[in-house]
Symmetry: C2
DNA sequence: GTCTATAAACCGATAGAC
DNA sequence: GTCTATCGGTTTATAGAC
């Protein structure tokens, strides 16, 4: 065989494969957001990407692993957004910014909703290490902000940190955004403001 | 044929059919809550009720109509709960009581979650008159309370009544309840208190 | 009305040619 | 690696005997 030096950078083929996989995950993320895991079919994903279904299975061994890869990439994007927050911001405002970002993604149809316990995919995710890894990192990051905000009385110190964390996650999938959008009386920007406000300040204030 | 007088009350057979249908809807409501519409199969429903699948189709012509009947009955129960609220209570406290009731049902595994736009069932519901009828009645009832509470400054007058209504509906399906329950650190009663509190008073207070 | 048995459609996954 | 074609399993819905 020809003795060639191993290239330090990924080969053209590898780069192309990476590019293809990214396109697949873009489609999956959108389809998961629009139809959910159960109603999304592999035929549909393949058609949306523009490749044959069999080719899909060369990249991902199963429907579950495909969804898991998509969700893991979403968490990566979330971590980027978390680390992008300016240091000088108050913890509460950083948390608000993350909620805003999540709802914004939701309104653009790019936020998959994975029912907490009711979907067949949930089990698969818990067994997917890269996903769990990122969930833990995200939990640690946001947990620090939450504790800091509670110490500074920016968030209620009477609430368990858990419910604050879960609530922040959940607001990104809140169907209230869909209802308001369907009504047509509000712009996306209005909806984001309203949801962030009711999340942090409640209905009473 | 024997000339018999038509009975004024439902015959025994009719009563038995009503009883059977109620048992079916009990199963459907629980299965919808546990697995959702897409993952619930007609075989499963039949097995849970203890009848054959073909018998199920004698009562309900399709899976969609079965789910629609179950959802309509849930709204009937909700309207009963709404009308049961004591007159002397403040509007805000009546609304809180309904939220408590909804979350309580959720924690008991008796609150179907029907994604706002993403499920195949949602379309069917919008074409099911009895369901729409009850949604409208419920909207009117709660809408009155909301406006009254806003006038009395019990709820923020700056918020559109719509978002308050939708938020109250949505909290009954909030996955935060599932997350907290999975953690195991809180009783159902604790979870209800926490969710009602964050719903009305936010994370800040 | 209730049952068993089956039709018809759909979907995840794979075989095999190129 | 990508394609076409197909398998095997599941699900909704129905036919027909009792």
């Amino acid at each position: 065989m020809n003795a060639t030096i191993t290239p330090k950078k990924p080969s053209f083929k590898q780069q192309q494969m990476q590019f293809r996989e990214n396109a697949i995950l873009d489609s999956v993320n959108r389809l998961l957001s629009q139809k959910g895991f159960d109603l999304m079919t592999m035929d549909e994903v393949a058609a949306d990407v523009g490749i044959a279904k069999a080719s899909l299975y060369k990249h991902f061994p199963s429907k579950e692993s495909l969804a898991a890869a998509s969700m893991t990439r979403l968490l990566d994007h979330t971590l980027v957004e978390v680390n992008r927050q300016p240091q000088h911001l108050e913890s509460k405002d950083k948390l608000k910014a993350i909620v805003r970002w999540g709802i914004s993604l939701h309104l653009q149809g790019e936020m998959p909703y994975l029912p907490s316990t009711r979907s067949s995919i949930q089990q698969a995710l818990l067994g997917h290490e890269p996903y769990i890894e990122r969930i833990q990192e995200l939990t640690t990051q946001l947990g620090d902000w939450i504790l800091d905000a509670q110490e500074k009385r920016q968030l209620s110190a009477a609430l368990p940190a858990e419910i604050i964390l879960y609530t922040i996650f959940a607001r990104a999938c809140d169907p209230v955004a869909d209802f308001l959008k369907m009504g047509g009386a509000f712009t996306d920007s209005d909806i984001i403001d309203l949801l962030v406000h009711t999340c942090f300040d409640g209905l009473t204030s």
